[in-house]
Structure formats: structure tokens, C-alpha cells
Symmetry: C2
Subunit: 117 residues, 2 copies
């Protein structure tokens, strides 16, 4: 991830409603949620929501697909992980004794959802 992408992603997340939207989508998992559901759950006007979705999408943090009349938005874990990596990476790069042993992946995402819910 390049610096500009990191700034874009950070800016996309640096807003109350968008952070809510993104976290909601993350919890919804890969199958995502319709714009209408998000609007209702968060109490946002649909046009306002479109604005925020655009920002998240432009930052590569969500994907969108049409399903019938609804637009289904879903979080892109890949980008979120790249951002986390970038922040860690760059913040530790060039620093001699920076947590040399403690560099586990700590990736996000749903693993084949074994589950119940």
C-alpha cells in the first residue's frame, strides 16, 4: 500500500458515520448488507449514505453489487489489513529494535464461517 492509499483509507474511516458504516459492514461479513438496511440501522438519510459509501468505495474499503433493486455493500478485509500493515510497517521501519519478535499477522476477516450465526 502506498502512502496516498493509506491517507485515503484513513480519511475514509476518520468520520463518525463512516466508521459506523464500515464496522457494521465488517460485522455483516462477506455477504454484506443492502444500502437500505444500513440506512435504517444507523438512521442515516439514503443520499447521505450514498455519499459515505462512495468515499469508502473510493478508498477500496467496500465493494458494491446490485441485487434486484438493492445495492449490496460489503467490507473489503483485504484493504483494511493492508492499512493495518502499512501503519505497523512504516511505524516500525528503520527502527532498530522495534518489537522484533512480536510481528504476527493479526489479520482480519472471516474464516470460512464455521458457525452458527
Amino acid at each position: 500500500m502506498e502512502k496516498m492509499d493509506a491517507v485515503t483509507a484513513l480519511a475514509a474511516l476518520a468520520q463518525d458515520n463512516r466508521l459506523d458504516v464500515f464496522r457494521l459492514l465488517v460485522r455483516a461479513g462477506p455477504q454484506g448488507m443492502s444500502a437500505g438496511q444500513v440506512a435504517e440501522l444507523l438512521g442515516l438519510a439514503p443520499n447521505t449514505l450514498t455519499f459515505h459509501f462512495d468515499r469508502l468505495r473510493h478508498a477500496g474499503l467496500v465493494t458494491v453489487a446490485r441485487e434486484g433493486r438493492s445495492m449490496i455493500y460489503a467490507a473489503r478485509f483485504e484493504t483494511m489489513n493492508a492499512l493495518l500493515d502499512y501503519l505497523s510497517e512504516n511505524c516500525c521501519a528503520g527502527v532498530s529494535g522495534c518489537s522484533p519478535g512480536a510481528r504476527e499477522p493479526k489479520k482480519l476477516g472471516r474464516k470460512k464461517s464455521k458457525v452458527s450465526a
Copy 2:
């Protein structure tokens, strides 16, 4: 870390110059750098820099201390780590099969500099 703090921290990092400033300070380590050095290295006007330092400081991402005529700014790894945790935490919370085994600390900061790398 609360949501508002996360948004503040994200917003503080979501800007070209500030991300540069913060990363420079991270590399400078706990001893920090004077405002003047940062200004010169990044080619920023001192007053502009003050503006950005204020945002970073307000977000708890840097500390400042006077040393002679200079102001020494230093990164606060603690806050950065809290932000990384918050992003991971909340992004995985409530998700049943979310990388259950891969949750290592991955903290930032200088560790007593063992230096092998």
C-alpha cells in the same frame, strides 16, 4: 479507546503532511525531534507545522516538551497501538469465526533495542 478517540486519531493521520510528520517522529524514537528539524526535513513552514502538531497532540499521538528554545516533539506509541487495537478489535468483534488463532499483539515501539536486524 473510544470511538471518538479513534475518529480523532484517524483524522489526525489522514493527511499527507501529518502522516509524514508522525512517521518521522516514530523513526526518531522516544527522544523525539525539535519542531525546527521536522520543518526542515519535510520542507514545511513553521506555523503550518504548529497547526499539524496541534492536531497530532490533540489526538494523543505526540507529546511535546520544551528544551531551550526548541520544542521537542515525540511520538506516543501507546496511542498508536491503542488505535491499531481498536481497529482490529472492533472489526473482529462479534464475528464468530474471525481469525481466532491469529491474534498476536503486534505492538509498536522500541524494545530495549536488542538489535539483530
